[in-house]
């Protein structure tokens, strides 16, 4: 997926037209450790870029998922309610969080490219 983009807060966003799938990165899941609870937004919720859109909890800590883009939530990954650990197993695949209809495609251009994000995490680790 060459068009996948990232935030400085370790979310990823993958567009298919105006629909963007959002999740957290492998680095983020590794830092948090095994997830035990995920609170997803309600379908129909309008969120702004940078808003807290979901809550994630591991054994040790709670964190949030900030929306990489502005828009309206159109679908959430309900399977995470029963198996939050799938975010650890496959953070960019089965472990996606929600799909959002993007309001302003130019926001997407401000996110990090894969190589920029890889540069960021190599500095962190």
């Amino acid at each position: 997926m060459s068009d996948i983009r990232y935030t400085n807060d370790h979310e990823w966003a993958r567009p298919e037209g105006l629909l963007v799938t959002v999740g957290i990165t492998d680095y983020a899941q590794d830092q948090l450790g095994e997830l035990v609870y995920i609170e997803l937004p309600a379908v129909g919720t309008a969120v702004n870029q940078g808003d807290e859109a979901a809550v994630i909890e591991s054994v040790k800590a709670a964190g949030d998922v900030k929306s990489p883009v502005t828009g309206t939530i159109v679908e959430v990954n309900d399977s995470l309610n029963d198996s939050p650990e799938s975010v650890n197993d496959d953070p960019t695949g089965v472990g996606w969080f929600y799909k959002i209809e993007i309001a302003d495609t130019s926001e997407f251009d401000n996110l990090l490219s894969e190589s920029a994000y890889n540069g960021l995490i190599s500095e962190l680790s």
Partner: protein, 374 residues
């Protein structure tokens, strides 16, 4: 080494933790393993089902010796050391004039010496607290060349029966001086997980050899501080700094059982420890606050410092520890509520991210203890 907390210390097992690819975190001024690659949940389950090895060398070991050491320690601890035989250890706490808990600890007797094992974060403070009250005929030493390893789990006994048959007959809270494959150890049949197991105090030079010997056993996997915390929470055991602290009394904490009759009102050595007036009064009349088990009804963990609210909307307490319990498979917590709300089954709310979540007062521990008692 640095009392001001400016230097981060490493235990003798630091290189081993790195070699095992542990995630290292700073805890109580030490570089400690939070978890190994298998993760907190897998390590937690392995301890409940088999045996896990913890490096707890960051904890403090304080040796107190001298003709009046018993009197000195009984003036600081609400315990009765005449009942503490060589070969046994006991749980007690340093109290403050306010009745609060300065630290909780394990005390044992080896020959003429008392050994206190205290919390890592408090060891310098505890040592100063004792040292500044030392009579001329006593000495106190914060041992800086000793390490502490904990082997915990239902198969720990099987492992040790193979390596050191002398340990096979030990019962909960027994202590023993032994050689394990040539390594001199003070062994304690106790721990902080609710499981059967042993703790080994050794010279720091021997700690790595002992750890490697134990990790070579098929039943044993390394476990980090993350699993140690989730195990002790399931076992309903207090963490100083969270569940007990200088503003909490032993009675509120539900630790009255650790205060023997002889130190209570009418006992042969009644009172005479810091805060004893307040604590003895609370033993008679009860405390305003009570530590309780808290069962969140949903799946969201309820963390330390979450406010607890009565159905009337009144704020009646706070969560002191909360996480996910890997063995029970759901979120668990404990905390303090006004004693009138402490009955089992009382329905309350915890405020999490500004939203009220339903919780119930529940029995502690969440996982029954598996100690091999006398």
């Amino acid at each position: 080494m640095d009392k001001a907390g400016l230097v981060s210390n490493k235990t003798p097992l630091y290189a081993l933790h790195c070699e095992l690819d542990a995630k290292i975190v700073e805890f109580a001024n030490h570089q400690m393993p939070l978890n190994y690659p298998s993760g907190i949940i897998a390590e937690h389950r392995h301890v409940r089902e088999s045996a896990g090895l913890f490096d707890v060398s960051h904890m403090g070991q304080i040796k107190v010796t001298g003709d009046s050491a018993t009197e000195l320690l009984e003036s600081l601890l609400p315990t009765d050391l005449s009942e503490l035989n060589i070969g046994r250890q006991r749980y007690t706490f340093l109290t403050l004039d306010t009745g609060g808990i300065l630290d909780d600890l394990m005390i044992s007797k080896f020959g003429d010496d008392y050994l206190l094992v205290v919390n890592a974060s408090n060891k310098h403070q505890d040592f100063d607290h004792i040292a500044c009250r030392l009579p001329a005929d006593c000495t106190a030493e914060l041992l800086d060349n000793r390490s502490l390893l904990a082997l915990q789990g239902p198969l720990a006994r099987e492992v040790m029966s193979r390596l050191c048959p002398n340990l096979a007959t030990m019962r909960f809270m027994d202590t023993m001086n032994v050689e394990v494959e040539g390594i001199n150890c003070q062994v304690f049949c106790s721990g902080y997980t609710g499981e059967d197991g042993f703790e080994f105090a050794t010279n720091s030079d021997d700690a790595l050899n002992l750890a490697q010997l134990l990790l070579d056993q098929t039943e044993v996997l390394p476990a980090g501080l993350g699993a140690r915390d989730s195990l002790r929470l399931e076992a309903g055991l207090c963490l100083h700094g969270n569940d007990i602290h200088p503003d909490i009394t032993p009675v509120a904490a539900g630790l009255s059982w650790a205060i023997p009759a002889s130190r209570r009102k009418g006992g042969s050595k009644s009172g005479g420890f810091p805060g004893s007036e307040h604590i003895l009064l609370e033993l008679e009349n009860g405390s305003t606050l009570t530590r309780v088990g808290i069962q969140p009804e949903g799946r969201a963990p309820v963390r330390a410092h979450s406010e607890i609210v009565a159905p009337t909307g009144e704020s009646i307490g706070e969560v002191s520890s909360g996480s996910y319990g890997p063995t029970v498979g759901r979120p668990i917590a404990m905390g303090y509520v006004k004693s009138t709300y402490s009955h089992l089954g009382t329905e309350l709310q915890a405020i999490v991210r500004d939203k009220p979540l339903s919780v119930k007062i529940c029995h502690l521990p969440f996982v029954e203890h598996n100690y091999k008692r006398l």
